[in-house]
Symmetry: none
Subunit: 441 residues, 2 copies
Amino acid sequence: MNREHRRAAILSIGDELTLGQTLNTNSRWLAERLSGAGVLPVEHVTVPDDLAAQTRAILRLAAACDLVVCSGGLGPTADDLTRQALAEAMGDQLVEDPLALEQVRAWYESRGREMPEINRVQALRPSKGQSLQNLHGTAPGLFGVVRSGGQECDVLCLPGPPGEMFPMFDAQLLPRLRPPAGLVIRTRTLHCFGIGESDLAMRLGALMDRTRNPLVGTTASGGVVSCRLRYEGVGPGDAAEAALDETERLTRAAAGAYVFGSGQATLAGTVLDLLRAKGQTLGCVESCTGGLLGAYLTEVPGSSAAFVGGLITYSNYIKNSLAGVPSALTSPGGPGAVSGETARAMAKGGLDALGCDHCLAVTGIAGPEGGSEAKPVGTVWIARVSRDGSGDVRRFQMSGSRQNVREWSAKTALAMLRFHLAGLAGFKMLREVAKFQDAGA
Amino acid sequence: MNREHRRAAILSIGDELTLGQTLNTNSRWLAERLSGAGVLPVEHVTVPDDLAAQTRAILRLAAACDLVVCSGGLGPTADDLTRQALAEAMGDQLVEDPLALEQVRAWYESRGREMPEINRVQALRPSKGQSLQNLHGTAPGLFGVVRSGGQECDVLCLPGPPGEMFPMFDAQLLPRLRPPAGLVIRTRTLHCFGIGESDLAMRLGALMDRTRNPLVGTTASGGVVSCRLRYEGVGPGDAAEAALDETERLTRAAAGAYVFGSGQATLAGTVLDLLRAKGQTLGCVESCTGGLLGAYLTEVPGSSAAFVGGLITYSNYIKNSLAGVPSALTSPGGPGAVSGETARAMAKGGLDALGCDHCLAVTGIAGPEGGSEAKPVGTVWIARVSRDGSGDVRRFQMSGSRQNVREWSAKTALAMLRFHLAGLAGFKMLREVAKFQDAGA
């Protein structure tokens, strides 16, 4: 591999992928690794275990890119056709590689087994190509140069199982990648919650201009709207970082208090960090989220430093008996289980029962059943009550499926606490439709 | 859409996908739906937010397939270019669709908000195409016919967020699909829990032969091992169903009591059905799972009929104060918070505090910190205690990440209750390393 790798394509191979029986996680992993190394992934393709389709895909991608990274189809069985496809795309023949054969045999021997004869086929490689040793399985990788569309392209074939593919890529491909001299690709991601994607885009304005560098794009996923910053240019890494610093500053200024973190940050992790910095603790009382808020918090390693626990008060009986919600609130004639009064009482009861500094409570109608005209599916009341006597109780109108309503509700509760802990109380949030007066603890 | 849909391509659009910032789960979902409907997915492609690349991909795939399903790029921002790409591939112009505009406006109005001006662009469609209503978000879908390579192809563009894409596909595309006359592709899935994939494969034996029809394959995901049955043939649907019935019978016989359901069944849903059939209730007391078990249960619509609630006893203080775990158990010199004694005490305490017929308790070390030689990361004790006086307390050694340990633990607790409710008590489960004697309530 001694050509410049400017544009890369990622080719995944396997019937289980094209039929949707297996989720493809290799493509994303390879794309992240390549772009991190300064090589731009421009297309991902998945084709079945079909020799003609594989060969066609390699030739097409080789004409448009400098590097094609394939994964899958290197096993020992009849539906593993990547060796043959690479040879055909190279206009070459397969030959047995004695060293590769020795390595496959050695892999079995080191496990006290004899190599099954079926695995011999794994030592084949195009006569003008190379075999790459697999330290974590039997399938050697392959490398070859394909001429297509008037240019040459490096083609690399890796085994499909992530446990074999990841280390082979890191050990054997990464050091040999040749990103364009001086070309630097750097990315950053800022995460927002409590604002819609359209509103955020209007705030970002010209920052989202498609000709800008760094480029700013947005993606919404599970209520979190992320700003993706991407710098691409020739020059020292310092200049890239400086440009990203400036764009990040402008993006944060535009998005304001809705930005809760960057990179791998989660809302729960951000809230737990704020709590730990203050030496304070959190508990929760959940009805419609049924444990999801607690699950988000305890997903974070070390969460026990700030999260003490919670009550899942799914039935009214448990709301009354464990969270101390007066039964008048949940009985006929009262405001009901889904109300500002009940949400506040749940949070206050949790503060006492759990002995924490802050308590979040969520009660709502996740659907699909249980809605009424006054309280349609998606009606959710969220309360935050704190040891310092402050409180905040809001009504939201969530939309989407039962699971959407639950996920948004749990995240919205975390965001309400985040605003409070960061001294940003009072911010109106997306889907908020009312505030409960007299919310204090 | 009135042509036969024999071969389909799936086109995903977005920089965040090609750069590897986001995992593409849409392609798999679409592939599963299409093949389930008898339309064969032959290629998946992912391209960036780049008008030329998108247009090129649509034209290339339209020349090779009868149907192209795109997802993503229908948002309101400058990097959302799918509307334009479809129009270019059709050789058409974009026009504003008054009905679509009305629907976007109505979506905002129903949420008490005014449509931001930026969203107006979402009402654009190719003049010869159609808009598809989005009941779960602002982005209408698009449909158009593309002429390429001497043939016509149906092209459908769906919004990227799964919460919008899934229902739009099911409501608007699925009924209009026209799989090839006579070709029948039928699939079934049986789900197992408590057995490993290799052990299951050995039990299945010749059923997994690659030339068999129906074909049987296995996929493991989050501890659930699923047997995928797929029939493909020309002929009446009856023959397909009869062949699948027989293969399902053989598969169930081989997998035995580990099969908990089929199709869309979940462990939580299966357990709730068993409880409802007996008119019994369930509560849970969670430590290392931190609410995840409750979240799995309450994800199921109507779960309140059998699930009453739970305690998230993350701190020892709350284990003692709310679940009534004797402090001698969790104090220095006692067996500790992660022990059979504590798991049993948590479940017994929960049975009383929650007033339910069965209580599940989980306590363990999810990691990455907190392990010791005697109790390494992944050590989890799970207790089931029932009103009838019976009980079951087991120690497991889970592996993998913090999240893996938590997910396996919550599912294993559900599976323990399932075995009990189905009269299958005594079954040894995968990763089980010890049983606690004297487990009764």
